[in-house]
Amino acid sequence: MTIEEVFEVVRSSTAKVLDVDTSAMTLDGTLTDLGANSLDRADIVTQSMLELNVKVPAREFKGVTDIRSLVEVLRSQVS
């Protein structure tokens, strides 16, 4: 999958969890910018994993600081 395709999955998961307009969401922003608290972020990650049908070990998210790094971690697990 391309970065853009994985980003679209994260965007759609974010829209489902937060119920907000995500049209302005970019790879360089953060989920916190969109109003996500720590619970929402965990929810968005698990939702994205479900939609991508991947299981990412929790330790892989250690260096995630923004949407781009989240997308990269998820993409690295997609076969």
């Binding site: 969890v17 619970l39 972020r41 965990a42 698990t46 939702q47 479900l50 929790a58 250690k62």
Partner: protein, 420 residues
């Protein structure tokens, strides 16, 4: 062979004699007040320097033992303490608890540890033992007991951590909760989301723990569905009682499960109806570790409409991590059994501390797992708190150690005064 019903015959929650409003901790520690609403908590229980995992366990279980006929007391053939607050690498908390509860010497003693999941593992293994026919009519006492090691180093974990124990008498006359035998789903893998590397502090990766809680819930429920063909998250359970590190976590978990497993339903209304009753006690106590899911169950039984029978879906999660989704049935007899424990009244009567009183108590209580060879604890300053708490039962206090052997004493509480 006919398999008997099995489950929880009697249950009690002990949550200390003192509490502090969570908002006081936010103010005192300078935490961001906008995050208070995410916790969905009002108070947390606070331990005293003369309380430890042993006193919590005994104080939770004693009312169950006192109400048992002597013959039944002798049928408690296994005592399990589940704790992440062990007091010795070899000697179990159970060995002390067995002594102070006066249980039979023909009783197995064991301590288990798997963070906040340990008690559920013990209860499920006990249920299997009890229906196996190995010892007809036996009972197993499982006590989830812990203390918290949080202070100004702990950030937003501090206001969420509670103090106390939950005692479950497991047997084949399950008045409180009849387990749906064979209906369970488990999920475990190694991760470092929180741990207690030493007797004086915890480490926690909060974001990782939130993630693993949600990940395990989804996978546990899928495993449950693999065993129970017709299981439907939105329809099968009248109520839900989850491990509650803080009530806001359970709200997020429910929202996720409804989105994935009950699309189209009104999630907010469902939360109020099916989850709300489980949160009254946890939101007034804080996280009781492996006793937390049973505190949530007690809250359902005391606060929900269950008289005509209700199925409760339960989720137990322990960091590290191991987890289980399982279920059982409660009814009017459950309500009667739990009401005898007066949990709500006892929570109301805990003494409310000011922030400076709270931090002074922490100075004494944070070292309660440190293995000092000799220690004497002066309980005198804390006696007024016991008196004000309105506890009607005798309570066990920790008095110190002699050559590493922990010492205890009973305090007779007067039943409370009304001048607080």
């Amino acid at each position: 062979m006919t398999i008997p019903a099995v489950g929880i015959e009697a249950m009690n929650v002990y949550a200390g004699v003192a509490r502090i409003p969570v908002a006081e901790i936010f103010t005192g520690r300078g935490l961001d007040p906008s995050r208070l609403k995410n916790l969905m908590m009002t108070d947390k229980s606070v331990g005293l320097p003369c309380e430890d995992p042993v006193t919590n366990a005994v104080n939770a279980a004693r009312p169950l033992i006192d109400q048992l006929p002597a013959a039944d007391r002798g049928r408690i053939e296994v005592l399990v303490t589940s704790t992440e607050s062990g007091v010795d690498f070899s000697k179990s908390v159970a060995s002390y608890v067995h002594e102070y509860l006066g249980l039979s010497r023909r009783c197995r003693l064991i301590e288990v540890k798997q963070a906040c999941y340990g008690a559920t593992a013990a209860a499920q293994l006990a249920a299997g033992y009890l229906v196996s026919g190995m010892s007809h009519g036996a009972k197993v006492l499982v006590i989830a007991t812990d203390i918290s090691l949080v202070d100004d180093r702990s950030g937003y974990t501090e206001p969420a951590m509670g103090f106390g124990a939950a005692a479950l008498l497991i047997g084949t006359e399950p008045r409180v909760l009849t387990l749906d035998l064979g209906a369970f789903g488990t999920y475990s893998y190694e991760t470092m989301d929180s741990a207690r590397p030493a007797p004086t502090f915890d480490v926690a990766a909060a974001d990782r723990s939130l993630f693993t809680y949600l990940d395990c819930l989804d996978n546990c429920f899928r495993a449950y569905q693999d065993r129970v063909d017709s299981a439907d998250f939105g329809q099968t359970f009248d109520y839900l009682a989850f491990h509650t590190p803080f009530a806001g976590m359970v709200r997020a978990a429910h929202r996720k499960m409804m989105r994935d497993h009950a699309r189209g339903a009104d999630s907010a209304a469902d939360f109020e109806q099916r989850v709300g009753p489980s949160l009254y006690y946890p939101s007034r106590i804080g996280n009781l570790c492996s006793g937390s899911v049973y505190t949530a169950l007690a809250s359902v039984i005391d606060n929900a409409e269950i008289d005509d029978g209700a199925r409760v879906g339960m989720y137990s999660y322990g960091s590290g991590c191991s987890s289980e989704f399982f279920s059982g049935v409660v009814d009017a007899a459950s309500r009667e059994a739990i009401r005898e424990m007066r949990i709500s009244e006892r929570l109301d009567r805990r003494v409310t501390l000011q922030f400076d009183e709270y931090t002074r108590l922490l100075e004494g209580s944070l070292s309660c797992l440190v293995p000092d060879r000799n220690r004497t604890i002066d309980s005198e300053p804390f006696l007024p708190l016991y008196a004000k708490s309105g506890e009607r039962q005798d309570l066990l206090m920790w008095t110190g150690t002699k050559d590493y052997h922990r010492t205890y004493d009973w305090i007779s509480t007067p039943g409370g005064t009304d001048d607080d």
